[in-house]
């Protein structure tokens, strides 16, 4: 018998032995899958939780793009779409079809209903800061629309200033 024949014979014998063996029941290893899922869940929770504030633009609102890279710091968001101004989940003032603030709500650049809402919020925030023994920063984050008119924007900033907010930031979408 040549070595080649011997090798083939042995191979055939092994194959036959394998065939006769009872099939082992395959068992799925869950540990590695659970590890992956846990890592993804923790990552997602962390990425959502690390933002100091959650910006949720109103329907149809297009936030301006910018190359700015400064992170958004904790503050009170004011949403200004082309239709209305939202503060604290409440629609405060309507904008006209031309994109101007409802003239009935503005007097000498001061938006009355917005001023009332912001003053109330500022008072609450000041009391909370005092109770915690920290200084109130008074930061407003203006989440405006790309098409928001400059006149409407400055009226909002002016009103926020009158409501004792001292720091202003425009929320933008970071571009590369």
């Amino acid at each position: 018998m040549t070595p080649e024949e011997l090798f083939l014979k042995k191979k055939a014998a092994k194959k036959a032995a394998r065939r006769n063996q009872p099939e082992e029941e395959g068992e799925l290893k869950m540990t590695s899958l659970m590890d992956i899922v846990s890592i993804i869940v923790v990552y997602l929770l962390k990425s959502y939780g690390s933002d100091p504030i959650v910006i949720t633009p109103t329907a149809g609102q297009k936030i301006p793009f910018s190359r700015a890279d400064s992170p958004i710091q904790d503050g009170v968001p004011v949403y200004i779409s082309t239709r209305d101004i939202t503060f604290g989940d409440k629609k405060i003032v309507q904008l006209t079809s031309e994109g101007d603030i409802d003239p009935a709500a503005v007097k000498n650049h001061l938006i009355g209903p917005l001023f009332d809402a912001m003053s109330e919020e500022a008072d609450k925030a000041k009391q909370m800061a005092e109770a915690r023994g920290v200084e109130w920063e008074g930061r407003v984050i203006v989440v405006g629309d790309q098409k928001l008119k400059f006149s409407a924007l400055v009226d909002v900033l002016f009103t926020a200033g009158r409501a004792e907010y001292r720091e202003f930031a425009f929320c933008v979408i970071k571009t590369s």
Binding site: M30, A68, S70, I72, Q73, K149, F150, F158, I173, K174
Partner: protein
């Protein structure tokens, strides 16, 4: 009262079948990740708007003797830039020129909602020139006509700050890099 007989069960330990749950999870996670709109937000810090300055404020400003006092007015026909009270590109002997902008539109005749109608590159080049002359200046006053959209204002701030400027370094306590020109904007209303 008859006593209830205890059932003698030969049941072994029952293991929960996690495979269907894992199947759903594995399908859900990529689906949610794909559905998620990823937009990273950033902030452009601005100083509050100024209206007409009072007499006292004006006196104070004069005492400080600000050397540059850079002002950029965004008009519907382009940018008017003034430094030290003199409009750049104005006729000789005039402090301002209402007939001609310093930097005309890049796309003349384009509608107002075309945000690329302004020549941001020319504005940045002008800011770079000023920065070379006044390396310690970081403040710029920006004003606009009432109809100017917010995107144009933000893009103007980007150009004045410098396209290569990374403010995150400054926030971390580093020295302002030379590629950052005027990164402290003041929004002024009613000046344009």
């Amino acid at each position: 009262m008859p006593r209830r007989k205890k059932k003698a069960t030969a049941e072994g330990e029952v293991e929960a079948n996690l495979i269907p749950i894992m199947n759903i999870m594995l399908l859900l996670i990529p689906a949610l990740l794909l559905a998620m709109e990823v937009a990273s937000f950033a902030a452009v810090n601005v100083s509050p708007p100024k209206y007409a300055a009072t007499a006292d404020q004006k006196k104070e400003d004069e005492k400080k003797e600000e050397p540059l006092n850079l002002k950029v007015f965004i008009m519907e026909d382009g940018y008017r830039i003034s430094a030290q009270g003199q409009q750049v590109g104005a006729e000789a002997g005039k402090s301002a020129d209402s007939t001609r902008p310093t930097i005309p539109l890049a796309k003349p005749g384009a509608p107002l909602d075309d945000f690329e109608r302004y020549d941001y590159a020319a504005l940045e080049a002008q800011a770079k020139k000023f920065k070379q002359q006044f390396p310690n200046e970081t403040v710029v006053t920006i004003s606009a006509e009432n109809t100017i959209p917010m995107q144009v204002l933000v893009s103007t701030m980007d150009a004045l700050r410098g396209s290569e400027c990374k403010l995150l370094k400054i926030a971390q306590g580093e020295e302002p890099p030379p590629e950052c020109y005027f990164w402290q904007p003041i929004v002024e209303a009613g000046a344009g």
